[in-house]
């Protein structure tokens, strides 16, 4: 872009201003506030605050609860994101092949996008209920084998499944769009080179889909850290015994239930740094490999 389509800079800024205003008001300002609060001792019900330097950070970083929830966050990030990319990938590849029901499937698979995270939590809380849910027969065969209310692993699994279900529509749409943008002559050339459907998928379609795969993986990693909140709050409330208290839920619990605003702000800043590092690492490690020119 060498030439601006606008005659003057102020005009361009004028058109951009609503978006800049919204982003500043609802994103940058809270971020700045969180950073400021992390250096102050805040009163829970307002009033004066005291500058304490890095005392909040020292307190949080020496708290084993913080490290436990950060570890859970990392585990959730990997175990929830990978299936939330792989399952939509398989669905998108199937839908792209133009199988008999793919037209209908394409629509059905997008619908969950219209459901809020909290509603998904409520629904999956019911589905995975050990007494009335779909896994109830398991408990009749082996009593106690499925118990998300008391078993941390079971609770974690319910979160992963709900997150997967939540992630399917968006990732499916992006990956399917990526697949459909590939010229069909690649598939034709590969067919003549002797590649069957599986070889074509692995050797041609998947590598050419790398940019979209990278995109959804980066988004899914960061989303799984943040968006898990709605699911946790409705399904497990961080339990049992803190097994599903990911950092994002701990911040909420500390700040709004424990009235530790400074501690919550400090953890927010640390979580932001964590997300930044993850995204930066992904870009550094993977971005160069996924680029190709048509």
């Amino acid at each position: 872009m060498t030439q601006s389509p606008f005659r003057s800079r102020p005009m361009a800024l004028l058109f951009l201003s609503p978006l800049i205003l919204l982003t500043a008001l609802f994103f940058y300002w809270p971020v700045a506030e969180a950073i400021r609060w992390s250096f102050f001792l805040e009163q829970p019900f307002g009033g004066e605050s005291t500058f304490v330097g890095f005392a909040n950070f020292r307190r949080v970083l020496s708290d084993p609860e913080f490290w436990k929830s950060l570890k859970l966050t990392g585990i959730f990030m990997v175990t929830a994101s990978v299936p939330a990319v792989l399952v939509p990938l398989m669905l998108a590849m199937a839908a792209d092949r133009g199988l008999r029901t793919s037209r209908i499937a394409r629509n059905v698979l997008v619908w969950p996008k219209g459901v809020a995270g909290a509603s998904i939590g409520v629904i999956f809380g019911f589905i995975f209920n050990p007494f009335v849910g779909i896994l109830t027969p398991l408990n009749q065969l082996w009593p106690g084998i499925w118990s998300p209310g008391t078993d941390g692993v079971d609770a974690f699994i319910t979160l992963i499944v709900a997150n997967l279900w939540n992630g399917i529509p968006f990732n499916f749409v992006i990956l399917l769009a990526g697949l459909q943008a590939l010229p069909d002559t690649y598939a034709k050339a590969a067919a003549l080179d002797g590649a069957g459907p599986w070889r074509q998928a692995l050797d041609i379609r998947l590598p050419l889909l790398a940019p979209q795969l990278f995109f959804v993986l980066v988004l899914e990693f960061t989303e799984s850290i943040i968006n898990a909140f709605g699911l946790i709050d409705t399904m497990t409330r961080g339990g049992p015994g803190g097994a599903t208290t990911l950092l994002v839920y701990k911040i909420y619990a500390d700040g709004f239930k424990g009235y530790d605003l400074s501690g919550a702000s400090t953890q927010t800043v640390l979580l932001m740094i964590f997300v930044l590092l993850i995204a930066a690492a992904q870009f550094l490690l993977m971005e160069r490999r996924v680029k190709y020119e048509r």
């Binding site: 002559t185 690649y186 034709k188 050339a189 590969a190 003549l192 002797g194 069957g196 190709y292 020119e293």
Partner: protein, 365 residues
């Protein structure tokens, strides 16, 4: 690109197989009329066939059906002794060069070329030898580690050809492979393709809408019109004896003049003032190529316009009946009118209704 080889590929290559197409038909879903109504043809082993026709004539559909990329619901396709119309592309032994090359953008030149060999589980040593040989033949040896995006159009074209011939296919298919090249490169590549074909000996089918490619490359040209074969003959025959007004009007630059004439009492009055005998009375189309019209004698006709092409000029004249007549003339002529006459042995005759050639009705004296 010079095709010098110590060990010609032809020595190692399997010779091509003949292709029989019998009663092939295809209608796209939702279309009113078939793209190919009923096509039967025999392409000889090792022959270079060019399928020529305007866009929408079914030539690409026919090529895709040969390759197995499109289903052939009706009719048979036989390669040698094998009936292939129900086989998957990979079981047919065809290779294809695509119009946009379709090189895999994420693979190097070498990987693009040996991909089919990897799939066929050819041992590594042999794969490398074949890549090296094809690369040398196509002058790609220095480019083997590059990716397609780092190549020029002509180089991509050669990689696409290399990818097709590395498997030594029995049938080699070309889908307008030269149309993305600029004019100069197109001329060069055309000649190289002709040489290459002689070397590797595969039965080749080449689809194009460019008549120069058809005339220069083909052993035989199949001219398609609305999915029907108008004529399937060597280029010289297509030029000398077009089978229909469609062929006559499609080939040649400028194409053959076609003039409506009437035969009365066994004679046709010619626009140049002369007459010629005809064995049947009725309406006909008289054909004569612009380059066969003789200048300087006969009827005088008014010049509509001149096109100067350097080597010669094309002049559009108005006949006494008001029809347009194109003649080629030496360059640089002037004047508002020209005298032209039609040599009898250059005349073609077509039935006005069917458009088919009825040359034998003319009585040349």
């Amino acid at each position: 690109m010079t095709l010098t080889l110590e060990r010609p590929v032809a020595a190692a290559a399997k010779t091509g197989t003949d292709i029989r197409i019998e009663g092939l038909a295809k209608t796209y879903p939702g279309a009113d009329s078939p793209v190919i109504p009923n096509l039967t043809a025999h392409l000889r082993a090792g022959e270079f066939t060019v399928i020529l026709g305007p866009s929408g004539c079914g030539k690409s559909t026919l090529l895709n059906m040969l390759a197995g990329l499109e289903a052939a619901p009706t009719g048979r396709i036989v390669f040698g002794t094998r009936e292939v119309q129900a086989l998957a592309p990979r079981d047919r032994g065809c290779a294809m060069v695509f119009q946009n090359y379709a090189l895999y953008p994420h693979m190097t030149v070498a990987r693009n070329m040996d991909y089919s060999l990897r799939i066929a589980k050819v041992p590594r040593a042999e794969r490398e030898a074949r890549v090296a040989e094809v690369a040398r033949m196509l002058e790609l040896s220095a480019l083997l580690d590059r990716r397609p995006s780092q190549l020029s159009g002509g180089q991509r074209q050669r990689v696409a050809i290399g990818r097709a011939i590395i498997r030594e296919p029995q049938v080699l298919l070309f889908d307008e492979p030269l149309s993305n090249l600029d004019a100069r490169l197109r001329n060069e590549t055309r000649m190289e393709l002709a040489q290459l074909h002689r070397r590797i000996g595969a039965t080749s089918v080449f689809v194009t809408h460019d008549q120069v490619e058809a005339m220069t490359l083909a052993d035989r040209v199949m001219i398609l019109n609305k999915g029907r074969i108008e004529q399937f003959a060597p280029p010289s025959e297509i030029y000398a004896a077009p089978a229909s007004t469609f062929v006559a009007g499609f080939l040649g630059s400028p194409p053959m003049n076609l003039l409506a004439v009437e035969s009365r009492n066994g004679r046709i009055r010619l626009p140049d003032g002369g007459t010629i005998g005809c064995r049947r009375d009725g309406m006909f189309q008289l054909g004569i190529r612009p380059e066969h019209i003789r200048l300087g004698a006969g009827a005088e006709m008014r010049v509509q316009f001149r096109e100067e092409l350097g080597s010669h000029s094309v002049i559009a004249l108005t006949t006494p009946d008001g029809a347009r007549l194109r003649v080629t003339a030496p360059p640089g002529g002037t004047g508002d009118a020209l005298r032209v006459s039609f040599p009898q042995d250059a005349l073609h005759l077509f039935d006005a209704e069917t458009g088919l050639a009825v040359r034998e009705l003319l009585i040349r004296t």
